[in-house]
Amino acid sequence: MNKTFDTIIVGAGIMGSTVALFLARAGKKVLLIDKSQIFRSASGSNAGTLTIHMTRASLVPYALKGWEMWMNLSEWLSRDIEVKHQPGLCLAFTEEEEKLLVERSKIRNDNGANIKILNSAEAQKIEPSLSKKIRCAAFSEIDGYAYANQTGLAYKKALQKENITILENSEVIKIKKNAKFSVTISNKNINQDYYADQIVLACGVWLGEILKMMNVKINLKCLAQQLIVTERMNNFLNSVITIANGKLSLKQFSNGNVLIGGGWPGVGETKDKFTSTIPENLIGNIRLACYTTPELKNTRISRIWLGLEAETDDAMPIIGKIPDNEGAYIIGSVHSGYTSGPYMGKLLSEYILGKNVNLDSFNISRLIQKQ
């Protein structure tokens, strides 16, 4: 195998794989590396929510573009994933929550969203299975979900079609820069060097560790977020449900599973594969789901797992060049990154290809700690 590439991408999740795809389509020779397997971390284990209600306000324009790409997936990726356009309802149960909901919806609207506040009866009409106890709901026509589990399969097929070399179970242990980048990869304790003019770091919660290899230090939190899935139920839910403070997402897939998320914290670190729930948080999440959608009381929990999400100090993304490392780029820590991921990845690929793309607000320099 020839070991020289135009671009080496570290991390085969939604960000890295999208960058890889669009660079390859522009004629670049790409190597995509993952320490585990494609889409096995956050990108394949998240709730798949394509919602505007949970997106950080300043990222709404990106989420809207991302949402469009998801809905037109067959045009640029594949038909292999279940993607559904459903209305999004964000609920408030108390006066305080109503205030928060109205306020947050307004900020999101100022950033390009189109959210309307509905009263309880109007919301029930759209989604009859909702609890009668809601005070009001924010409604967005733009919402829906993609089946996150299957995303890796769809991407892998598309990446292979573009002749991208994918190395799974391969951990980056050293990055050096001479004329080219040389990246040392360990697979089953065998080390090999690969070379490229450009390198893109897209390895989610592991970004901090890889950046250290390039003498760049940032503070990156690792959030372990809990997901709960029910047994297959008769179809009763046809919207994506969230709540005002952002701590619930609820949807039903076509096979009948209801998936409950919302980013309730559990236990999990970058260094240890072991993840576990925090039982109080688990019960909290379950109660909130039952309160919102009483129908759930009649089913059983089939599976609980945790995904790891990276968060910077200001909870904003890092996308763009890595300073003092000509040819090195980074993408990650994008809040609701699954929704906007395809668009963010496409943006970075265009940036790398020299197109006029403004990524100033995501510049990593703001976060770099002085040595």
Binding site: G263, P279, K297, S302
Partner: protein, 473 residues
């Protein structure tokens, strides 16, 4: 919430769990013994519900009664009808009954959860009228009821004999026994069975009864199809070497009891991220344990058949061995005493193992059974995943069990892959040309048993829902 921390929590009150509990109870240790069944004894000493009249003539029932009596008289806190669904940090144990959720804490945990049944799929194995061999023993032993009127018993291992014997004893009618092993395989392991004379005699009694009743036995054969036909099942049987051949024997029954050996229950050890290894003859994946059956997670023990299928008698000794290790750790046993006791127990275990290992050799399904799984045959019945679905994913690059699970949902349903783990591995191994042990095992996830939402949530008001920081805007 109950804040009491037990010295030791034992999950499972079969022979192994009871042995550990009784040994520990001699030392005034706080013991919690949890089981999701109504009565102690596990599967082997499964008793009838209290309101049933039990068959006192059966030796197992006497042992059960004796163990139950001992548990009652001890200081052991015994929680029957409680299902553990999660173990999390600092050994917090979450359990539930039909109506309530419970939380316990312990300094040490012993898992003695026994086994689950392995069934290699075939066309129609999910149809009504098809039940597991081990499941049949529950009906026979606990309810003293036959699963049907016209029964075919199929699969491999000693359960074929157990089910046949008890069915005949209750006056049932057996159409045929379909054994995937050849008579030669039984004979080859025959000599080792002499290592345990009482068990050997028992087995011989079973065989004699079956032979005297002139039950047709099809050796080296397997059921390849079971289709419903009104109230009956049309069952197709093929020779193991000719599964792909169209030639078959056709029989009819109303109930097909089928099973291909037992698999150690590793739900909790996988959930705790303990290290595991693959040992075909001990039933498949088992946790790596030290000589005291402590896993790679400190103070987390796994005993009995859950640490390798060897049967009830070795299980009992394993329970005692784990117990003396814990007693020693609690400074209630000196180094010398531990050594002495270990020597005696391990010697006994070693002797009992000979019989268990011989039985294991006739319990593991022949690799040829792979051929009975047709492209359209459902492998994962919770999520309706067929062999073809698995092969498609493998062709697209799912080369380990966890990636396959993610892409297909195979093994992600309410049974958590207990039923299909082996069959999925078998199919994936064939289409990736890998060994089963190189495909890995499914990550353990809570809930280990599906928990109803109304139980997990309990009674609550909106204000009582845990408060949590809002996501940033």
């Amino acid at each position: 919430m109950n804040n009491k921390v037990y010295d030791v929590a034992i999950i499972g009150s079969g022979p192994s769990g009871i042995a550990a509990a009784l040994e520990l109870s001699k030392y005034n240790i706080n013991i919690l013994l949890i089981d999701n069944n109504e009565r102690v004894g596990g599967q082997i000493y499964r008793a009838s519900p209290p309101e049933f009249k039990s068959d006192e003539s059966v030796e197992e029932m006497q042992i059960q009664k004796d163990l139950e009596e001992k548990i009652k008289k001890s200081n052991i806190v015994y929680k029957p009808n409680h299902t553990v669904w999660q173990i999390s940090e600092n050994f917090r144990i979450d359990g539930f009954t039909e109506s309530e959720a419970f939380v316990w804490r312990a300094n040490k945990i012993i898992v003695a959860t026994g086994t689950t049944e392995r069934i290699v799929p075939f066309s129609g194995w999910t149809n009504p009228g098809v039940i597991g061999l081990a499941a049949t023993t529950i009906i026979l032993k606990s309810q003293q009821t036959m699963p049907g009127k016209k029964i075919i018993i199929a699969g491999c291992g000693p359960l074929l004999l157990v089910v046949a014997y008890y069915t005949l004893k209750l006056g049932g009618k057996i159409e045929a026994i379909i054994d995937t092993n050849s008579k030669w395989t039984w004979l080859k392991n025959f000599i080792f069975l002499f290592s345990n004379i009482p068990l050997f005699i028992k087995g011989f009694k079973w065989i004699l009864k079956i032979l005297l009743c002139r039950i047709p036995i099809y050796s080296n054969c397997t059921v390849t199809s079971a289709e419903n036909n009104n109230d009956l099942l049309n069952v197709e049987i093929k020779n193991l070497n000719n599964i792909e051949n169209s030639k078959s024997i056709k029989l009819q029954c109303d109930t097909l009891c089928v099973g291909h050996g037992l698999i150690p229950s590793t739900d909790f050890s996988r959930l705790m991220n303990a290290h595991h290894k693959f040992d075909k003859y001990l039933g498949g994946w088992i946790p790596e344990v030290n000589k005291y059956f402590e896993t790679s997670v400190p103070n987390f023990y796994q005993i009995g058949d859950a640490s390798g299928v060897l049967g009830a008698m070795p299980a009992y000794e394993k329970g005692k061995i784990a117990a003396i290790s814990i007693i020693h750790k609690m400074n209630l046993l000196s180094d010398y005493e531990l050594d002495q006791q270990y020597k005696i127990l391990s010697k006994k275990l070693k002797r009992l193992k000979i019989f268990g290992e011989a039985i294991s050799k006739i319990s593991f399904p022949n690799d040829l059974l792979y051929k009975q799984i047709l492209p359209e045959t459902i492998v994962c019945r919770c999520e309706d995943i067929t062999r073809k679905d698995i092969e498609n994913s493998a062709n697209n690059g799912a080369h380990d069990l966890n990636q396959l699970k993610t892409w297909t949902r195979c093994g992600m349903g309410p049974c958590q892959g207990r039923t299909c783990h082996y069959a999925t591995s078998l199919v994936l191994a064939k289409c990736t040309n890998k060994k089963i042990e190189d495909l890995g095992y499914w990550t353990g996830r809570a809930p280990v048993r599906p928990i109803p939402f109304y139980v997990a949530a309990g009674d609550f008001t909106y204000e009582e829902i845990t408060k949590i920081e809002s996501t940033p805007i």
